[in-house]
C-alpha cells in the first residue's frame, strides 16, 4: 500500500498532510503551519537544540520516545510517528509537566529561548530512563546550548525529577496512542510534488524497485548531513529515498566473528550494543553528536557521507570493517579500507545502497580511540585516532591504525603500521612510528586546528596509546 498522505499523531489525533513538500523541515511546518511557536530555530543545522521536539514510535507494542532536532528533519519522515511539542506537555487541566515544573522552580530559564529545547530533551530522558543520574542527564542535554545559565540550575532541575512521580498524561493516554499509532503505521510513502519526489519504502524489495527507476535519488537516513543542503545551501533536493522506514535494515547481529549493523540502525542503539566489545567506540559515539543526532543518524549514513572528520570512520577502519553493498540484483562486500576514494567520494555507485556494516571482533586485541576537539560535547574532531592491535610478550602481532581529520579521507596509517608490526614496544620503535606518520599524512590548517598541531597530536596520540598499554591505565582528562 502506498500513499502520498503523511499521517502522524498530534494532540491525540491523527493528522494528515496531503502531498507535502519533501524539502520542508519539520520545524518550519510546526512554526508556520501548525502555528505552534514554542519550538525555536537557533541554528537550522542541528547544532543548538532549540528546535528539539520528541517523536513517539511504536516498538514491540511500546512507545519509544526520542528527542530530535526538528530543524533538520524533513516533514514526510514524520509518517507513522507521534509528534510531541513543548506546548503538548501541559495537561488538559493546565498544570505543568513535572519536567517543566522543575525547570521553573530551579530557575532553569533566563532568557528562555533555549528552554523549550531543554524541556523536550529532559522530557525524552524522563520517558526513557527510570533513574536520572549525572551521566544520563548530561548526555540528554549535551546537544542543547544555553548561553545564559551555565547549565547548573538545569542539572539541578533534572536531578530533582528523581523524586517525582513518573506517571504523566502520556502514560495515562498510552493505550489510546498505541491504538492510533497502529492505525497509521503500515504505509509506504510516495510523493510527487512539482519536480520533487520522495519515497519512503518499507521493504528492501520496494527500495530496489524505486532505486531502479530513480537512479539519481539521494538516499536519506538520519539526514543530519543531507538536510543542510536545504537549510544552509538553500538548494532543493529533488529526489529522495528515505531509508529509515525499512525495518528489515534496522538490526544488530553477532555471529561471534563479527557484529553486523543494519543500515537504518540508529547510532543510539549501536552505541549501547558495542560498549561491551569496544568501550572506547561508545565513548567516542557519545561525543559524535548529541542524543538528538544519534537518535536518527546511522553508521551507514556516516560511511556514505564519507567526511574526513566522520568520527565512526577511523574507528571502523582500524577494526577492519566491511561494507555490505547491495544493488538491485547483487550483494558485494567491500573492505571499508577500499571504500573511500577522495574527499567525500566513495565506491558507492548509483543504484547501490549500503545494506549493513560488518565489524570484526578481535577478542584478543586492544582497541583504543581518541577524539581531540575544542569542546568535549558535540564538536567536530580536529584529530580522531583509533588503534587496534594484539600484543603478545610485548611484541605487536597485528595492528591497524586509522586517523580522521588528517587527510581528505579517513585513512589507515600504513607506514606507521608497518614499523610497528612484529616489533617490540620500545621507545625507539614508537618514535620511529611517530615519524612515519609524516609519510602517511599531510594534514591541512583550518578553523579547528593548524596543520602543525594536527601532526603533533597525531603523533602524541600514538604515544599515548602505547603509554596506556604499558602503564595499564588511562591517561585522559575526561575519564
Amino acid at each position: 500500500m502506498t500513499s502520498n498522505v503523511i499521517k502522524f499523531i498530534h494532540e491525540n489525533k491523527i493528522v494528515e498532510i496531503n502531498n507535502p513538500d519533501p524539502n520542508e523541515t519539520l520545524l518550519n511546518y510546526v512554526r508556520t503551519k501548525l502555528k505552534k511557536t514554542g519550538t525555536k530555530e537557533g541554528c537550522a543545522e542541528g547544532g543548538c537544540g532549540a528546535c528539539t521536539v520528541v517523536l513517539g514510535e511504536l516498538k514491540n507494542n511500546k512507545i519509544n520516545y526520542s528527542a530530535i532536532n526538528s530543524c533538520i528533519i524533513f516533514l514526510p519522515t514524520l509518517q507513522g510517528k507521534q509528534l510531541i511539542l513543548v506546548e503538548d506537555l501541559i495537561s488538559k487541566n493546565g498544570s505543568l509537566h513535572p519536567v517543566q515544573d522543575a525547570m521553573v522552580n530551579y530557575h532553569g530559564s533566563q532568557c528562555g529561548f533555549c528552554t523549550p529545547g531543554f524541556v523536550m530533551s529532559l522530557f525524552a530522558m524522563f520517558k526513557k530512563h527510570s533513574k536520572f543520574k549525572d551521566d544520563a542527564i548530561k548526555d540528554s542535554i549535551a546537544g542543547n546550548l544555553c548561553r545564559c545559565t551555565g547549565y547548573k540550575p538545569i542539572i539541578k532541575a533534572a536531578k530533582s525529577l528523581n523524586s517525582k512521580d513518573k506517571i504523566d498524561h502520556f502514560t495515562q493516554n498510552k493505550q489510546n496512542t498505541i491504538t492510533l499509532l497502529k492505525k497509521i503505521k503500515d504505509e509506504s510513502i510516495v510523493i510527487y510534488k512539482k519536480d520533487k519526489r520522495y519515497f519512503a519504502p518499507r521493504y528492501v524489495q520496494e527500495l530496489k524497485k524505486i532505486l531502479k527507476k530513480n537512479i539519481n535519488a539521494h538516499l536519506l537516513s538520519g539526514g543530519t548531513d543531507l538536510s543542510l543542503v536545504v537549510t544552509k545551501e538553500r538548494k532543493d533536493i529533488n529526489s529522495v529515498i528515505y531509508m529509515n522506514s525499512i525495518n528489515e535494515l534496522n538490526y544488530i547481529k553477532n555471529n561471534n566473528n563479527y557484529i553486523e549493523v543494519g543500515a537504518t540502525t540508529p547510532l543510539i542503539e549501536f552505541e549501547s550494543y558495542i560498549e561491551k566489545y569496544y568501550p572506547d567506540f561508545t565513548a567516542i559515539l557519545k561525543r559524535f553528536g548529541s542524543v538528538q543526532i544519534r537518535n536518527v543518524a546511522t553508521v551507514a549514513g556516516n560511511i556514505a557521507t564519507a567526511s574526513p572528520i566522520g568520527d565512526t570512520l577511523p574507528l571502523l577502519l582500524s577494526l577492519d570493517a566491511k561494507v555490505v553493498l547491495r544493488t538491485i540484483k547483487k550483494t558485494k562486500i567491500i573492505p571499508l579500507n577500499n571504500f573511500f576514494i577522495d574527499y567525500r567520494k566513495t565506491k558507492l555507485k548509483k543504484g547501490e545502497f549500503i545494506g549493513s556494516i560488518r565489524i570484526p571482533l578481535f577478542p584478543k586485541n586492544i582497541f583504543k580511540a581518541y577524539k581531540i576537539s575544542k569542546r568535549f560535547d558535540d564538536d567536530i574532531s580536529s584529530v580522531c585516532a583509533s588503534f587496534n592491535l594484539e600484543v603478545i610478550n610485548k611484541k605487536i602481532k597485528n595492528i591497524r591504525i586509522a586517523y580522521g581529520g588528517m587527510a581528505s579521507i579517513p585513512k589507515r596509517a600504513k607506514y606507521c603500521e608497518k614499523i610497528l608490526l612484529h616489533s617490540s614496544i620500545t621507545e625507539q620503535i614508537i618514535n620511529k612510528a611517530k615519524e612515519a606518520l609524516e609519510k602517511d599524512f599531510k594534514p591541512i590548517s583550518d578553523m579547528r586546528a593548524s596543520r602543525k598541531y594536527r601532526m603533533e597530536v597525531a603523533k602524541n596520540l600514538l604515544h599515548k596509546c602505547f603509554l596506556e598499554i604499558t602503564q595499564k591505565k588511562l591517561i585522559r582528562v575526561n575519564n
Binding site: 537557533g42 530559564s109 548561553r147 545564559c148 545559565t149 542539572i155 575544542k374 582528562v477
Partner: protein, 768 residues
Amino acid sequence: MIKETFIQETRPHESGVKHVSGYAHYTDDISEPEETLYGAIGWAKKSHAIIKKIDLKKVIKSEGVIAVVTSKDIPGRNDVGPVYDGDPIFPTKKVEYFGQPLFAVAAKSTELARKAVLKAKISYKTLKPIIEIKDALKKKSFVLKGQTIQKGDPVTKIRKAAHSLKGEFTTGSQEHFALEGQVAFSIPQEDNDFKVYSSTQHPSETQQIIAKMLNQKSNTITVVVRRIGGGFGGKETQSFIFAAICTLLAKKTQLPVKLRMDRDDDIIITGKRHDFYSRYEVGYDELGVIEGLKIKLASRCGISPDLSGAINSRALLHIDNAYYLPNVSVENYLCKTNTSSSTAFRGFGGNQGMMVIENIIDNIARSLKRDPSEIRRRNFYQKERKNITHYGMKIEDNIIHEIFDKLVKTSNYKSRKRNIKKFNLNNKYLKKGIAITPVKFGISFTTWHLNQAGALVHIYCNDGSVHVNTGAIEMGQGTYTKIAQLAANELGLPFNKIKVSATRTDKVPNTSASAASSTTDLNGAAALNAIHKIKQNLASYVKRKYKVMNGEPIYKNGLVKFKGKSFRFNSLIKEAYLNRVSLSSSGFYATPKIHFDKRAFLGRPFLYFCYGAAASEVLIDTLTGENKILRVDIIHDAGRAINPAIELGQIEGGFVQGAGWLTMEEVNWRSNGQLTTHSPSTYKIPAVNDMPEEFNVEIYKYGKNKENVVNKSKTTGEPPLMNAMSVFFAIKNAIASVRNYNIIPDLDAPATPEKILMSINQLRKKEL
C-alpha cells in the same frame, strides 16, 4: 529619594512558566498579518573592494520575490552608526568587510527570500584588506584616535625598580551567540508610521536610526520589545541594521515584513568582542609590589567606531582591576580592520583590560617564584591609603580583601595547591593547576548622559492592579522580575498584582540601552520614583480628607497605614479615583555623584564597584592540550540581592560565558578576511560538560551597596564573567608545572588545546 526597605526574595523568573511551556513570545513568535512578507539580506563576498556593479536582475525574477531594496531606496541617512557614522546600511562605493550587507529582498516566505539573495551578480575590484591588529598598527589604520593616559612617572620607576619584566599578551574575540538570533518585524501604520518589533537591547536608538533613515520624525516610529532571547551586548547596536532594513522593506512594499536572520548570516554580518593585543613593561620590588607600569594596548575595532571608543575607554579604566598602580601609562590604539565592526560584549572592554594586568601580576609572581595569590593580595587597593585609582577616583567601597581572604579559606586553596604539586610530581602527562583571581568592576555608563532612565506606572481604579513600564529590556537577566519585586515591595502588594509589560518607545522615551550592568539600577529607581509620586498624590488626598498627621504612611500586606487611619490598598485606590486623584505617573532617575573629564581622564566615572573572586582548578593533558575545569569556587558581591536566585544565575552563567571566552571560543578569519567560524559546528560555546565538575558559588553574605542604589543591591550583569579569569591562570599554572614552575609560560587567550600544547612545547625549549 530611596528608602531603606529591603527585600531579599527568591522567586522564579516572571516568565518562567511561559518559557517552559512555549508561550513566551519572542519577535519571531508574534502572530503575523496574512499579507506579511519575509526578508533576506544579500552580502559582500569580499572584505575590501570597490563595488563595480550590483546586478539584481535574477534576484528580482526569483520565485516569490516582491521587492528589492538597495542604497537607492534610502531617503535619509544611510548609516546605523550609534555615535559616529561608518556603518552604512548598504555601502554605495566600497565594501569594507566580508559579509557587509549590499541589498535586501522581501518575498513570500523566508526560504524564498534567502534563495533569491544568492542569485545576485556583484562585480568588484579587490583591494588589499587589513585583518590583524599588528598589521593595522604597522599601517596606522585606526577608527578613532586612541588616548594616552599617564599617572606618575612609570618610566623612571621601572628603570629604578629592583625587578622588571616585558612581554606581550593577546585576548581573543568572542561571538555573542544569543540563542535567539537577530530578528525584526516591521508593520506599516497610518500616516507612514511604523511599528517595529525588534530583538534589541536599545529600542530608543532603533527608533532614532529608523527615523533618520526614512527622513521622518521620531514620533512616527514606535519600537516594541517584550523580551529578547539573549543579548550580551550583541543587540546593543548590532540589531539596528536589521530593524532598519526590515522597515525599509516594509516602507517599499507597504506591507508587514519580518526579517529573521539565518544563524550563519547573523554571525557573518554582525560585530563581536574586541580582541586586544598588549605590550607591557613593569617594574616591581622584591615583594612583587608594582612600582611602575607601561602598557601599549591595541584592539581590533573592525570597520567603524561603533562603540569602540567607550569600550577602549572601559579597558583603560579597568587596567588596574583590583590593584593599586602608583605609576602607570597606557597608550591606546583603536585599530581599523576589514572585519565586521567589533562591538559591545558583556564586560565591554573591562574584562580585556583586567586580563592584561592579571597576566602581568601572574608573571611577576612566577618571576619571583611566589604564589600568585600572595602577589595579587599584596598589590590590592587599600582602604585608607593606596585607594586612588589611576583616573583619580577614590575607592570608598573596597571589600576585595574580605572576599578574597574568605575564598582562600573556603576553597582550601593552600592545601589544594600542595596536593596539586604532589599530583604533578607523580604524573608525567596529566598536570593540574590552580589559580585565584579577584574582580573589581565599575558600574555606570562611562558616557555620562546615558545614566538616566524613565518609567511609567499606572494603578487601575477598579482592582488596584499595577502596570509598570520602563526602558529596561528583559534579556534573561531577570530585570522585569526584579523591577516588579521592587514595585510590589514599595506598594506593599503581592507580586502578582504588578505587571511589567513590553518596553515601548511610545511609553517611555529617550531610554538608554539595557547595558553596562545598569538596567535594574536605573530603571528600577525610575519605577520607584513614579510610584513615589503616586504615593504623594494619595498621601495629600488622605491628609486633606481625613486630617491625619504628617508622617510617612506604611504600605504593607495590601494595607496602607497612615497615622491614625488605615486603608485596604484597593479601597484607597478606588476612593482616590472617585475623588479625582491621579493614579498614574511617569518616573525618572539620574545617577548621582558621577562625573568624568574624558580628556584629562580624571573624575568619578562610576557610582560604585562590584567585587568578586574565584578559585579554579584545572587538569590539562600535556600530550594533546585538552583541558578540563575540575572545581570552581566563587564568592561574588551582589550587595543586598533583590532576588538571590536571579543573581546566582547571573554569576554562574557569567562565569561559564567567561570561561568560554578564555578557553574554547575561537573566532577565526582567513587572511582574506573571510570569517570561518559562523555556526555552532565551527564556533563552540560551552556545553553542559564544560561546566566545572564541582561548582560552588556563593553570594557574599555581608554585601550592601554603600550608595543609594535600589535595595542597596549591586548589579550582577557583567562582573561575574571576569571570575573566569581564574580558569585561564589555573591553566597557565598547570603548564608551568612542566618546568617545575621555574619558567614563565607564554599563553594567549583563548587557551584552546592547540594553544596549550604550543605553550608547553615552547616552555620545554626555553633556557632556564
